[in-house]
Symmetry: C2
Subunit: 631 residues, 2 copies
Amino acid sequence: MKRNLYLTTTPIDEAREIYMNALGDDLRPRAETIRVTDALGRVTSEAIYAKYSSPLYNSAAMDGIAVVSSRTEWASEASPVLLKPDEDYLAVDTGDPIRKPYDAVIMAEDLQEVPEGVLIHAPAPAWQHVRPIGEDIIAGEMILTRCHRIRPIDIGVLLSGGVTEIPVYAQPRVGIIPTGTEIVEPYENPKEGDIIESNSRMFEAMVRENGGLPVRYDIVPDDYEAIKASVLKALEENDVVLVNAGSSAGREDFTVHILREIGEVFIHGVAIKPGKPVILARACGKPVIGIPGYPVSAYLAVENFVYPVLRSLTGLRASQSTTIQAVLSRRLVSSLKHREYVRVRVGRVGGRYVCAPLARGAGAAMSMVRADGFCVIPQEKEGYEAGETVDVVLFRSAEEVDRTIVCTGSHDLLLDVISDLMSGEPEGVRLSSTHVGSLGGLMALQRGEAHISPTHLLDEETGIYNESYIRTLFPGQEMVLVKGVRRIQGLMVAKGNPLGIRGVEDLTRVRFVNRQRGAGTRVLLDYKLKQAGISPDDVDGYEAEAATHMAVAAQVASGEADCGMGVYSAAHAMGLDFLPVGDEEYDFAMRPETLDLPEVKCFLRLLGSDAFRAKLEELGGYSLEGSGEIR
Amino acid sequence: MKRNLYLTTTPIDEAREIYMNALGDDLRPRAETIRVTDALGRVTSEAIYAKYSSPLYNSAAMDGIAVVSSRTEWASEASPVLLKPDEDYLAVDTGDPIRKPYDAVIMAEDLQEVPEGVLIHAPAPAWQHVRPIGEDIIAGEMILTRCHRIRPIDIGVLLSGGVTEIPVYAQPRVGIIPTGTEIVEPYENPKEGDIIESNSRMFEAMVRENGGLPVRYDIVPDDYEAIKASVLKALEENDVVLVNAGSSAGREDFTVHILREIGEVFIHGVAIKPGKPVILARACGKPVIGIPGYPVSAYLAVENFVYPVLRSLTGLRASQSTTIQAVLSRRLVSSLKHREYVRVRVGRVGGRYVCAPLARGAGAAMSMVRADGFCVIPQEKEGYEAGETVDVVLFRSAEEVDRTIVCTGSHDLLLDVISDLMSGEPEGVRLSSTHVGSLGGLMALQRGEAHISPTHLLDEETGIYNESYIRTLFPGQEMVLVKGVRRIQGLMVAKGNPLGIRGVEDLTRVRFVNRQRGAGTRVLLDYKLKQAGISPDDVDGYEAEAATHMAVAAQVASGEADCGMGVYSAAHAMGLDFLPVGDEEYDFAMRPETLDLPEVKCFLRLLGSDAFRAKLEELGGYSLEGSGEIR
């Protein structure tokens, strides 16, 4: 099988329009009649009219007595009127019918009970506290229009209006076929070369959230006939079929050839990043969409091409995402070849929204989990400069973003611990941390793009942490430094220390993995190398950069590197041996006014909590003396 | 059984606080472990950590060949380097492992195939197009915090990280007990005195939407022992129990006495309107909430008291509703005795939000269906003046409200028809119509509170409809009048016309039902009465007002009135006989700039559509000549 080297790159809106037009009448939704009690979240396929009025009859709106209004005309405080049971009134409860000659209700609270009956002190005008027939719903009136998604209140009103069954759009069945010889079910124990199949499970959930019924098929290996057979079967059993992956131009990317054989391919390749290798096709009169394998590409392909197809079949309208204007923290370069979706974290700092780009790779699914939204770079733009105001399409509500602490700076596992504890608090506040190293964090704080900067920068001359850096970066400004933790830094080596590394002095004879420029840990390494009289040029891997303690630990654990520097807790978590190099102070820098934010108050409260202390003891390598103190 | 005359009226926030504090540890959520593939929408009960890294190994990020970077160093356009298969490179597809000695990937597109192998024209630096182990997810890192509601992308990442099962909060079981001798299941044919039981079905849906598992019990008649037995059974089988209704102070309102016997009642009566008779109690260590019977009261009681209990048990956080500022179209008076929730329709007219109050009765469930939000009048406020800016808590997104046409004025069934057709259009636009009569509509247009005003006002002197009114109300301003329909007005009488009514001249001897002041139909009636020389004082029921044609028809159909004036379509829909009185012109007034709005373009397009014409023919009594013409 040849590679399909030449994907087209149709602009995304054009591709969608071509496809939706090509599908045309294939996208006619089916209707079915279901019970109202099963209808939550379903979508009406036609207008619904009330069968009965509600109330069905004139009825008491209050607990009390039903009276004939004309007989109460002369009642007053000065001369109350006596009404006798059965003769002059009937006791009624809310909802009871009011039949002639009765035409008004007096509330129980306004009655004075006497042996012969009740005394009233005011007249009851006709229709007082009586709900006329049809006051709420009139038989024959339209209760709901077509294309209306059923809410709880609709269920109540439909039943009150005598409607027990309604026509709704049938949920389209969406067949999902995972393909690939190298992919394995999540339930097995993966080995090198295996890729855990997770996309189809994400698609199931995406289809379900958008009103479809997902039908997942078994994994099909990269075999032309096997994939073709599975696609044909799925076409028979479903309204829409998704094939994942094999939509690109690899040697074993059969999908496009199969779809050309059994149907018609309208688009192969869309100018979108991530997500280019999309196939938009039709076979057996049904839409078939080939979806790329990288999770972020897959997500965007479903959102951009499968959702519109589902909307046509379900009657659901696009839910409008909230778009906000945010200041970009870092330059973003993009190509004119595609529209690019860059995942960003967003927060509101000092009255304006700021956004920080996350990992851009198509494979960085975790960055989708962390992201608060997308910054979409149009195809005709080459990118944005740092400090520019850009549009961000939010995944969360703006209110949620408003209650987020933006924490930018040095990485430590304790940030995850606080973030977890914070999520458990009833306030609904969040911690959003971006790891750019201590110096990068302080610079973000300076630019007004962060609430808090975790930092552990050693002043080589004084041996004091953090303070001198803050004084230099924020001259003449009052700043707050909240004491965090003392933590042990050291060298992480494989279990059992097979290379017999003793300390920094041995770094000249092993493969090292370093942290990025500006990271406090790198500053510490440089200091230690200088003390030991070693030049960075003599350290193999000094230029290899990892962004977090855990990333360093992972490199060592996998054998890619023999040694890296980082905190004890990361080495401990990855089962590595650890050679302590020294203690350091990991603190939180912020502006004084930040202390007043309720989110930050919650942060500080948790920093001093027993739950936090207990969790840090479990992680190991921390000392919490004076933690939470404000300097 | 005595009435419970003396409900307290605890302020709403205080009542909630007392109750939540009293429940305290009873509200500890349970956790359970479920499969990730079943976890959509569930909420994590603790932080989730990755089990494996992703990728699991260094892998190809592109389709192409794996090479040893050092052997490509000298390649250039001028002197390409030849690489031989197996010896110098391995063909790889995206995701394939890159094992030593290979350390870089060259994309298929950059290769020139020759008989002996491939030529490359540029060096491949180490790690080019290679995804290092853990690039996306690092084993041991936190993927999700606790209290996180699982989204599709989370499912993908959890599985990629080797996590197949997760701990989540168990869905609390909520027992729902409908009580009342007069209530019947929706599936039976109701007769006078029956009330269709619909609240429990609404509760089921509300509980489901908020992460609980509803368990509905059979209707229990108003019998102390029967209700007690049902409550005790429900307490045994559920985490929370809701009793509806019997929470008020009627003769047969047993709930509070039962709960005092078997448990503890903390609050009976809350200062909220609608919704005062709420019971907040505990029995068998579980929350029991007595909910009032009126649907709007019931809805508000669930929202204000059951949702907080559910949030404690599910780990879900309150979703923040959007609150906007809107100009109030009508004065709202409220009492200092309670916080009042007034349902309003909201639209954006000329750059500002305007809101119009809907029916305020606790029984007006249909107004909840029609509403776009609540205007909440705080307990310490006596109300708001027309024109004041108030806070509105929206039920819809602000974007949806922005795409709504505000149509205020005279009522006709054709507005429902257009609204239905509009909902079927892909644009997602909505028509929100409020019925205040023709004159009221033109005045709303004048105040900038409506986009469109449907009007049919007869100038008695000229016999011409609408134009002179607009000239008078909008002196010197350019206005647009879009021709709507000609429709037949007449007298609606019971089937077979048992009283032998012949025309307006007979209105002195029957019970009439009129339309509200300012309604065009009322203007027409007055004109016809004057022509016939009849004084309004001689018409029994001239002061009885109904707000729509359908409401008039319902009064006649129920026998409450013998005769009313309205359009043919309403009489037809309610199965009444109809005595035509005359044709009239029902048109749409608007400002010229309104014609440019996309929503209004959609409205006008539909006005001229075949679907609209067909539907109006079905309703009967309309002529569509010139419909959609702009004057």
